[in-house]
């Protein structure tokens, strides 16, 4: 499957993958339309948001950690129920428009791989639709 391999280095972390996604789009040869970004994991996600100030991603990680505490009497015993919930709240896929061979993004938008149970080796699939 075409995509991006990455290694995260913290338990919870947003990794800016905008340039890697743009390269994958070029490699796929998609010039106009859209590509599907799909995270094939159940404790990670993908989103698009501001990347200029890294404090934004840090705030998002903090808010999610407050909303969904790591330990909260969960039934699932692997200690990562919070990670699954965050993955569902943020979402494991993102459809990205492509125009003129380039991802369609607003001025401040960047694409983030969202790690919620790292550090790990991860993948982000980039698929033609």
């Amino acid at each position: 499957m075409p995509g991006i391999a990455l290694a995260t280095d913290r338990r919870e972390q947003f990794v800016d993958v905008t340039e890697a996604v743009a390269a994958a789009v070029a490699e796929l040869g998609v010039t106009d339309g859209a590509v599907l970004l799909h995270v094939p994991h159940t404790t990670a996600a993908v989103t698009i948001n501001e990347g200029f100030d890294p404090d934004v991603a840090a705030d998002v990680v903090d808010v999610l950690a407050r909303l969904v505490p790591r330990d909260d009497g969960y039934a699932h015993l692997e200690g990562n129920s919070d990670s699954h919930v965050k993955s569902i709240m943020v979402g494991c896929s993102q459809l990205l428009g492509v125009a003129g061979g380039t991802p369609v993004l607003g001025r401040w938008q960047r694409i983030f791989f969202c790690e919620f149970d790292g550090p790990r080796q991860r993948q982000l699939l980039v698929l033609r639709v």
Copy 2:
């Protein structure tokens, strides 16, 4: 509209529809690309997450119920404002990659219809894009 009919039996419940979606994809004859999974309801959702341990889905249902209580002085008087909020937080659609006639899913990923105001008769549309 092509899709899947299902009956939920609790107010809040994740129903694993992976096999039914795979059958719908085969029936549509999509071999490579993607299909759109669309929930045509406003108090339900669709997501992709872990299906091996049913405790994961149970934990997600519990966390969402804690974050968005059923009774909380809502303006909408039908008693299901929480269901609408959860539907929006999880999302009413999911684009699913297809390769070789088979849904593109990670090793632990399963597709779930998310009921937030059951029990009811429900539909999940499976559409060509």
Copy 3:
């Protein structure tokens, strides 16, 4: 980029854009398949939910404001970290099925532009996939 321009008039607000999206789909000439609704901003979102009773959208805005308070010791100093978090939780894009030239929506479903840091001039892109 084809799309819809709109002006919001409150900080947090759901604006029903269903008719404008239907017009944009017709203008694009998409008859069957799907269009991508993409919000090119980082403090807004797009969703599909009930539009019959305006209290539903009001409840959603209130619940999100309670879950993600406006002031909560954030690192990002522009005073809109809450807006970024809500944008990520709701999502900045939505794939919308189209059949017979018309958006595929359930009986009670309407499309909402979600403002989380207004009032502002905003755009909702409507893209072929």
